[in-house]
Structures are given as C-alpha cells and as structure tokens.
Symmetry: C5
Subunit: 328 residues, 5 copies
C-alpha cells in the first residue's frame, strides 16, 4: 500500500498524490511531503524512489532487509534505518519479531518504508489527519514523532517482563520446576534481543542529537536528545532486568542443588543405617545355625537379645556421628 500526503501553507492537505508529481512537490520548498510504503514489492517502490533522486546504494539498502539501525548522511537527505520490536507473550515464552523501518528524510519530505503495519507510523499518520500542526513543523518533526512513538512502545513490554520476573521469583522458591528454567532462559533471550536493538538505535538518536545535518533544524536536535535519553533509560532498565533474571537463575540453581543434596544425603543416611544391620540379619540367616552344623549355641535367646540391642544401638550411634559431621 502506498500512501502520500502533502501539506503546503494555507492549503488543505492533499492525499494519495500520483507518484509522478513527487519531484514537482519536492521542489516546493515550503511544502511537506510524506510518502509511506507498506508491504510493497521492491519492483513497485524502485521507480518511485528513483524519482526522488536517491543514490542507488541507498535504494538497495531500503529495499533489502538490513535489520540494523543506522544513519547514512547523503547530504541532501538522510537515510535512516530504525527497528520495531514486535513482542508477543505466548504462554511463558515470547515471540519476538524485529521489523525494519526505512526512512528517507529530506529538507521538505519524508519517505517511509516498512513491511508489516507499525503502530508508530499508523498513529502519526492519523495525527496528521486530525491536526494540521503535526505536519506543519516539518519532516524532521515527523521523524521525531515516529521515533518517539516507536521508542515509547518498548515501555509496556519492559513492564510485562518485569511482572513476569516477579512471578518467576516467587515460583523459584516455592515450586522450582524445569519449566521455571525455561521461562528464565526465554526472558534472558528476549532481553538480549531487546538490547541488541536498543544500542544501535540509541547511536542513531545520538547522531541526530549531536551532529550537524543539512535537513535537521538545529533547534529540533533537542527532541532527538530526548529520545536518546529515553533509550539510555530503556537500556539501563534492560540491564537491571538482566541482573534480576541472572539473580533468579542463580537462585533457581542453588534451590535445585540444595534439593539434590538433600536427596543424596537421604540416600546415604538410609543406606548407612540399614546396610550394616541388614548384614547382621543375613549373618544369622545362614544355614550354619541349622542343627546340622552343631552351632546351636549361636542362636540362643541371649544372643538374640544382644543382636537386637546392636540393631537398635547401631543406628543411634550412626545418627550421632552424622550429627557431629553436620549432615543431619
């Protein structure tokens, strides 16, 4: 789907402009043109992008999937790649899809390309419809709005992850199960994926906030600085959450380990207590004490009493010995 809108001071907003008019509109220095490509095949986009006079390498990048936020300064226009992280909680795992948003930003136009619907684009477009001021402030301000929207979208995810960690932390102590570990690994992977996107995006915003670009009004840099701060904070939250996941993993492993130690101790205690006295029962079960061997003296009542005493005293002795070694 190709959509376009054109604003010129004192005139109503024009929509769905035929592509062949784009070069003319771009020459109107006071106007603002926004062209948006959503899920269009490369063949459709290519000729339209060429009308803007973009460098073939930049067009190549825009039509291929690159997936790493970056900013190329081509003088009269900037080529910017941003990422949109689509995260869906799916039971206790998380499905993440990284979507790419390609942006060409000129002095009086902005061209955006993406494959799947991105809320930041849809909402900004709707806002242009509702409120003329959105578009009046120029294409760099539109870029700010889109990026701000994109970045704000991470916050609910971060909060969902936070809640998930809280819930798992309780689970770790009460009923640690292999599933708990899977949940933790899923969160760890998710946070790694987020971090991988936040860092280069932060770098792009830093460049927009600091460097001197022909198409960015220096007074607007402060807005990109604001998004940059937002991304710094998100990165910091991400680090904190990774610490929490790391801590929960440590705790899980130590809880499991303690339980296993308990199991092994029980095994050893039972074996240690019963194996020797079972040997004694075996001893007196031998057929030597049948009348044939004439060892009748070994199976008298007195010996029986002594044997039973040993069978009672031996476990008590072992228990005391284990106590002293702090096993029990």
């Amino acid at each position: 789907m190709i959509r376009s809108l054109f604003y010129s001071p004192g005139q109503p907003i024009r929509k769905d402009i035929p592509p062949k008019e784009f070069p003319k509109l771009v020459r109107d220095r006071r106007g603002v043109l926004w062209v948006n490509f959503e899920n269009e095949p490369a063949d459709t986009c290519l000729p339209i992008l060429q009308r803007f006079g973009f460098h073939p390498l930049a067009i190549d990048d825009a039509l291929q999937e690159i997936h790493i936020p970056k900013l190329d300064d081509w003088g009269d226009y900037l080529y910017i790649v941003l990422n949109y992280l689509d995260i869906q909680a799916n039971g206790y795992t998380w499905e993440t899809k990284t979507e790419e948003l390609d942006i060409f930003l000129g002095a009086n136009y902005i061209v955006t390309l993406h494959d799947t619907p991105i809320p930041a684009i849809a909402d900004t477009w709707a806002s242009c419809d509702r409120d003329l001021r959105t578009v009046q402030e120029g294409p760099d301000h539109l870029l700010y709005r889109i990026a701000d929207h994109l970045v704000s979208g991470y916050m609910p995810t971060v909060e969902k992850i936070d809640a998930a960690i809280d819930q798992i932390e309780d689970e770790v102590f009460d009923r640690p199960a292999p599933r708990t570990l899977e949940k933790l690994f899923a969160l760890k992977r998710l946070l790694q994926a987020m971090r991988r996107i936040l860092l280069p995006q932060r770098e792009v915003m830093n460049k927009l906030a600091r460097d001197d670009y022909k198409v960015i009004d220096p007074r607007d840099r402060i807005f990109f600085r604001d998004i940059y701060d937002h991304l710094v904070r998100l990165h910091d939250l991400n680090e904190s959450l990774r610490d929490l996941v790391g801590g929960a993993l440590d705790t899980y492993l130590s809880v499991i380990n303690n339980r296993m130690n308990d199991v092994m101790k029980t095994l050893t205690i039972i074996t240690t207590l019963f194996m020797p006295i079972t040997f004694i029962t075996g001893f007196f079960g031998m057929n030597f004490f049948e009348p044939v061997a004439g060892l009748v003296g070994w199976t008298t009542r007195q010996v029986f009493m002594a044997t039973v005493s040993i069978m009672l005293l031996f476990p008590i002795g072992m228990f005391i010995w284990m106590r002293r070694r702090k096993w029990v």
Copy 2:
C-alpha cells in the same frame, strides 16, 4: 508540599512565597530563591515550573520518573537528576528503593522536586533556616550541599554491608545453610544496584567539576570535584565488597561441595564394605544346605570359621585399598 525561601542581601529570609512572585524574584540578580516540591502531583508543578521559563522537554523529564542521574545544560539553567538510594535491612534481605531528585539550577535560584522525603533536602533546608550563610553562597553551593549530603548517606550503608559480609564469612565455614546462600545473593544484588546508581552520579559530578557552565561559579567547581572523589571512593569500596561477596560465594560452594563429597564417599564406603559380605550371608542362607540337597558338608563348623574370617578380613582389605587411593 511546596516550600520556598528567598534570601536577598541585607533582608530577612522570606518563606512560602506565592508562586506568581517567582518570576519577579528571579529577576533580582542578587537574591537566592529555593523552591522545593515534595510529592506534588504533576498538575500542580507544571504551571509553576512554566513560570520559570523552563523548556517543555525539561519539565516533562522532571515530572516523569526517569531514575538515571544525568545533567542537561540548557544555557541559563542546568537540569540535573540525582538519585537517592533508600536501603532498609529487612532480616537478612535488603529492601532498596531508588528515589529520584530533579533539580533546576539557575544563576540565582534552585528548584528541587522529589516524591518521598529525602534527608539531604530536609537537612539542607533546616540548615538554611538556622544559618544564613548556607544560602548566602548562592544556589550552586546549595546544590553542592544537597549532593554532598546525598553521597555521604551511602557510607553507613556500605558499613552495614561490610558488617553483614563479615558475619556471613564466619557462617560460611561454621554452618553453611541454604539461607547463607540467599544472604549472599541478596548482598550481591544490593551491591549491583548501588553500583548502577554510583556510576552515572559520578559522571554528573565529573561534569560539574570539569565543564564550564554559566550558572556554576568556576571557583566552586572544586567542591563538586570533592564529591566526585567521594563517589570514586564509594565505587572502589563497592568493588571491594563485591570481591568479598564473590569470595564468600566461592568458599560457600566449596564447603558445600566438600560436604557432599564426604557424603558420597561414606555411601560408597559403606556399600563397598557391606554388599560383598552380605552376599556371602545370602549364599549360606540358600536352601541348598537344607538336608534335602545333601550338601551338608558346606555348613560345617570349619566352613563357618572360614566364612567369618573372610567377613572380617574383607573389610580390612578394602579399607587398605581405599587408603592407598586416598579416599579415607
């Protein structure tokens, strides 16, 4: 709660000034104005902050929770975020809450915003009451006092953590329990949280000590340098404590591991000593030696003596063999 105080040379300190007078007072270049917002809703703060002419983005940052220390230079004023770490020992765990302190510092005024009571603010305010000199030295000196107080507040916590580690280190050797591990993990998390706050705060102080700001008297930079040194030292202490916690964790794990090895060895020794001789008792317990089978010759007194000898010599032999393998 909104509080304000205004000092002008030669006049008594004015308090609880109506907000509409603020712009006028700010124009009095020789005066010092301090406005403090504690736990006020954004709606109340917004119009008052706007009277000072702060940039909308800075006001946004101040009214939202950001939680990362930073410093923005807006020319006529600085916007500074500091953190206050509220740590409560709760049994052997620690409850930490990071509170945000937003500061606007102008040439002759300082505006502070926070949600919960912060001792550094309360004490500096009280000191302004008691001693005129506190406020005479200008708003940058007030900032120094607040920051200094904030940073000094970490020291008792560090000492409590140090004591806690000392106590755990003894526990690790004497009676290591799963609880010991939890305590260590709690300390590790606490130190991580502290470190996360100390580092950006240190950076803010470094900027105040090194860079040239319109609203900071160059002769006062040395004071921020002092706080910077203090934070460097706290960070170093934090690293040392983390080393100690790491060392205690290593020791705990090796003590537990040694104990488990002991347990397994005992299991193996008991099994190895008794299983073979129990087999022998079983052997002579078989019904072949009942008169029916005519194997009466196997259960004579001589065989019995031989059997008992084996039952005594076998464990001794095994013991010698284990000794040589250094198990016992």
Copy 3:
C-alpha cells in the same frame, strides 16, 4: 595459472599479455590492467611482481600466507589482504578453510594472488569478459566487485547455520544426546572462526570507506562503505547466532541435568522405600526363630499380620514425607 587482461578506451580487451609488457601497460594512465595469479609457486610470481616495482616487504607478505585481512598504504599502490572462508557442512560438523586473497591495487592496475579457486575472482573475471563496463570503471571498482562478491558469499553459510540451530533446538528438548552437544560445540567453533575473519575485514573496508588513498576515487568510497555496512550486519547476525547457540547449550545442559536429577531421585526413592522393609524380612529370616532358640512366639500369625502391615504402611509414610519435601 597466470591470467591477465588489459582494457584501453576504444580498443578490444587484450588477454594473456606477456609479463614483460606489464611495466609499459602500467604507464598508460587511461588503461586498466588486471593480473591474476592462481596457485602459482612463489618463484614464478616473484619476478613478475618485481616488474611492478612493489616493495620487497609487500611482495614477501603476498607470497607468504598471512591469513589476517589488512591494508597497507604504499603510496602509489595499496597492498590488501582479504580472506575467503570456505565452509563445507560435513554431516553435523563443519569443515572450514580460510583462504587468503592478496591484492595490489594501483591507479590503473590490480594484481590478485590466491592459492585455491575463489568464486569471487572467477565471477568477476567472467563478468569482465561479458561486459566491458565492469572493467571500464577502473581498478578500484574491480576491487569493490571482488570484495562485494566475497562478502555476499557468507550469507548462504549464515542461513545454513541458522537452519542447523533451528533443528538442534528441537532436538535439545526431544532427544538430547551427546551428539547434540558435539553439534553445538561445532557450531560455536564455526561462528568463532567466522567472527575472527569478519572483524579485521570490516576494518579494511572501513579504512577504504573513510581514509584518503591516492588510488581510490573519493566518489567510490561509498561503495566500500556499503560493503562495510554489509559486514557490520554479518557481524551482528553472527552475534545473534552465537547467542542462540549459547541459549541452546544452556537448555541442553539443563535438560540433561534435570534428567540426571530424576535418575538420582528415583534411585533414592527406591532405596529409601525398600531398604528398611528388606531389613525387616531379614530380621524374621534369622535362625533365632528356628525351634532351637525357643523364640517361637515371635513368628505367630499375629506378628506376621503386624509385620505385613508395617511393610505396607512404611512406604506410604515415606511417600507422604517425600511429597512434603517436594521430591515426588
């Protein structure tokens, strides 16, 4: 095999030029000369390279195997080492061979040396044959084509690795075997080897894209910048894949560990349930209850009933106790 081609504006492409003509052709500033050595012994290459007037150290480097991508600026020419990673899936392991491609790039010539056939060279050569324009744009453009081809060649490998990881991730949960671990280690090593090559190659492209070299047309730098971006992306994919392999390793180890814990628990439960009641059977198997000892009262029907009850109740009790400790 030594191959050469020479293009001069308005003339047909000459091929297989005798080496002694090279110096003369190089002096023709408008021509483009490409000399390619494939698997030639050093003795053959040496005199030809000397005709170009390359520095002895550069020739030494080109004739020895160095294996690390680098770029040396010798003023009139660049000496560049690129790597070609030949990866063959071999069952579940991977055979990787790093091949070296040495390049001398002058203002109007390019000399390439390699030991094994490299597709990037073969294809670019073929393209020169087919299409005059390939060679018209000068030797720096030929370098771009070769490097671009080389770098594009990593993509299918990355996709193969991606597919392999997908398949292993399923395996890890369903039927983890020692072989699964070997596969993961093999992938880890492969990704490490790739990373080791990508990073210095990226640095070479960065230099070509940023620095000012006599033999590179500044307008062509943007092409090397494009390859640089491609390598950044490959490096990023590599990192993601390493994360995935790391995650699969973690999962494998925890699945195996869970299984082992299950095994140990079963051992303990069986032992704990049966050892005590086996002792009881042994107790009543002793020969004291033969008529001789006169302990006939111990083996009455009532005692038997009581014994059988204990043998039934004891395991039930143990089971409840284990339940409470959350073993079962």
Copy 4:
C-alpha cells in the same frame, strides 16, 4: 608524633622546628622543609596544616581516610595520596592492611601524614639524617625516594606469594584437601587487593612522569617514570600470579572431580556386580523350598552347581561389559 627538619644551603639541618616557624621557613625559597605527622589526631594536625595555606578541602581529605591513591594539583602545591600495603603471612592465610600516606608537595617543602609507621618514611628520614645530599635535591626528590621505597616494598611480598603458589601446586596433585582450596582462595583475594592498589598508584606516577606541575622539576620526571615502569612490572607479575592461581584452582577442581568420579564408579561397579547375585541367593533362600511346598527338585546338587556357576560367570560378564564402555 610530629617531626620536622629544615635544610638551608650552607647551614646544619635544623630539627623539631616549632610549627609557628613553618610559614617563615616556607618563604625561604632555597631551603627544604619536611614535616611528618605520624598517628596524630586530626585536631593537632589541622591548625598546623592551615599555616601552610592548604585549601580546606585538601586538608579534609588528608585528615580523613580515603584509601585511594590520587593526585590533586592545587597550583602551588600537589596533594598526593599513596597507599602502603602491609601484608603479613598468617599460617596459610594473609592479613592485609592498606595504610594511607598523604603528601603535600610544595616547591620547597613536603608534608607527610600517616597513621601507622611506614618503613618508606622511616628509612628516608634516617637517610636525610645520615646524608645531606638526600635532602639537597629538593622536595620532589624526597617524594621520589619515598615512593620508590614504597613500591620496592611490594617485591618481597610478590616473591613470597610466588613461593606459596609453588608449594600449593605440588600439594594440589599429591594431597588435595579442602585446606588447599582455602589457601588458593586466600591467595586470589590477596592478589586482587594488591591489584586494586597498584593500578591507581601507577596512574599517579604516570601523571607525575608526564604532566607539567609547578612544583616538579621537569628533569626529575624521569625518576617518576622509573617508578611507573616498576609498577607496570609489578602489575604484570600480579597478572601472571593470578593466572597461576587460576591454573592451580582448575587443577584442584579437576583432581577432586576425578577422585569423586572414581568413587562413584566404584559404588556402581560394586552394586552392579553384587546386587543381581545377591538376588539369586535370596531366591533360593525362600521358604518355598522347604519340604512343605514340595519343590524339592529346585534344590538339588545340580541346581546348586548351576547357581554357583552363574554367580561366578555373571560378574565376569559384567566386568567385560564395563571394560568395553571404558569404565574400568
């Protein structure tokens, strides 16, 4: 204890000068004044330090314990903090105490403060007594002598640690005990503590060797460079020792692990060999073979022979099977 000495060309060295004369002596540009405070309370030091005109913040730092080597340039004087690491071998553990040495270095005076006796100070003082030349070369040379002495003092400790590691390495293979592990952890902690002091001290020396200070003769920088090199070497030795400790830890763990594996294998072998044949003995111990059940045919001499054969052959078979799995 406060000690002072004053050297003026052509005059005998004066000692124990009354503090009130200090300002006068400092004005004598050709003289050299050294004041040393050892374990003096802050109240005593404060007024004397104030006579020198030091900045209140610098005095504060000197009177408090800071414990991190640093260098502050106050223009007319430098404030330097150095550390002295007092290491006592205590059985197989090490007691380390970090002592702080505060130094004020002016153009013609040096003021040193410390709490416990430091050999570097004591020896340099004694050398001033013995040899006029020590003090003649100016206060920056005195600083060099003190720092050089301080740094040389680490060498014997490093050698002691080296010897301790050598001894432990033998122990690890011959008779690894929990104590061995404790020794290794103690060494690790000691080396960490050393490293923590060496690094900032190295930075201080680097500054003295490179930067331009009013009170340091540029020709004397080479001496601080020498100490810097010494600290680089110590840091390098420290890294090597840490590698050795790390290697010994790895070896210890693998030796212990091998032993535990041996233990577990023995347990399994014994159980696997004896449990099945013990079952057979139990089988034929059942009372079915009493005359009552009429199963007399099961307990004939032939069956006995067969049973004994199985009891002999079974363990042999198991042993062969284990051999093939490479357990034994």
Copy 5:
C-alpha cells in the same frame, strides 16, 4: 662474555675492541659499533655502559631483570627491552623460560645485553661476520634483524602447539583420562604465557614503526612495521589456538560428564530392577512360613509360580517405564 665489532666504510671489521676505545669509535659518525654482553655480572657491565653516557636509570634497568618489553626514548639513544621465550616440550608439559634482551640503540652503535645464549643474537652476529652488508645498513637495521629473528622463532613453537592440540583432540573422544586434562591445562598456560609476551612486544614494534625517533631512519620504519604485522598474526594464531584449547576442554568435560551420567544411570537401573524383587525373596525367606506359624498356605507351588511371574514381569515393567522417560 663481552664481544664487540666495529665497521667503518672502506676498512676491515675490527673485533674485540678494548672498552676504553668505545667513546672514540662512537664519535666516528660513519662507523657502526656493536657491543654484546652475554651473561656478564653487573659489575663488569656497569663501567662500560657508563662510558657510553647512558642515563643511570637506563643502566639500572638494563642490569636488573625487568622482563617486560618496553621502549624508552632517551633522545640520543633508545633503550629497548625485548623478550625471548625459550619453550621446551617436556613429555606432555612445556617448560617456558622468558629471557630478557636489553638493547641500547644509538645513531651509530648498538649495545645488547642478555643472560643466556639467544639464537637471534648468535645468528645476526655470525651474519655480520659472513656478510659485510649486514652491518653496513646501520644499527637500526641490526635491531630489525635481531627482532625479526626473535619473532620468527615463535613460529615453530606455534606449530608444535598446533600439532599437540590436534593429537589431544583425538584423545579427548577416544580415551579421555585425567592426563588429557593436565595436557590441556599445560597448553592453556603456555598460550597465556606467550600472549603475555607478544602483546607488549607488539607495542614496542608499533612505536618503532609509527613514532619519530632520532636514531631510526624513517625509511627503515617499514621494516619494523613488517615485524609488527608478524606479531599481529602470531597474536591472532595464539587466539585461535586458545579457542581450540577451550573447545577441547569443553568437549573433554562433556565426554567425562556423559560417561559419569552413564555410570549413575546404570547404578540406578540395577538398583531399581533388583531391590524390589530382592525384597520379595526376603519376604518369603522369613521364618513365619516355618511350620510353627501355621502359614503353610503361603508357600505352596501356586504362590511360588505367582511370585516367579512377578519377579519376571516387574523388571520388564520398570524397563518400559524407563524407556518412556528416555533413560535407556
């Protein structure tokens, strides 16, 4: 042993020149003087080095053992420390000795000091004997030759290590033994030691290749650049080998772990199969079934058949259960 040679254009090479002539020869700007000290006590070297007018600190460094490659620029001469790693394979362990080579490089002289014979020195000396050109190119070229020889000497060691790793990798899968682990740890330590020497040596060569020194002909810098590249490559090989050792360690541990898991599983399977049926044999071995108790009905032929059936079916059931849990 002190050796010296002096070359002056048009004259034969002089040898074993008396030390007192050195200052005179050094003044002959066109000559080249090389003095080599091998295993000479400091007392002998000191006066000779002083004749060259070296700074006392530089002489100190040269006469003590420092062991860290470094480069000090003293203006008229450079003081350089290089290292020679003497590696001897000793069974499966490696003996490494780091030897120090101290070099003073002046405009027309070079002074070298070392304790043990170093092949790089011996060969360069011999080459001066054989071929006048070696010495004609000046002392900086002699330095290049020595350093080049030193660095080339690492290559055979790297190849030996490579072969050793190859051999161990086979061993790890076929017959992993504690000794295998020791070999791997030995290789790890060796590679760590190599790395520790390569890095600072690389830095020295980088300085010689980049910085401007009075005593190095700028045209000769390219030679040091060549050694630098060689060291970069060695460092890279070292990293690869460390990866391989790391991979082999991982594999070893997982092979051992798999084996141990096998052992534990076998233990559990045997116990689980035999303990319950052994209990049954015990049950029927109790003396209740002696005629006395009148429980004769429990030991009839039918009960026997049922019991034997249970004894056969029970293990089969357990086996199916274990199969389903994927133990077997």
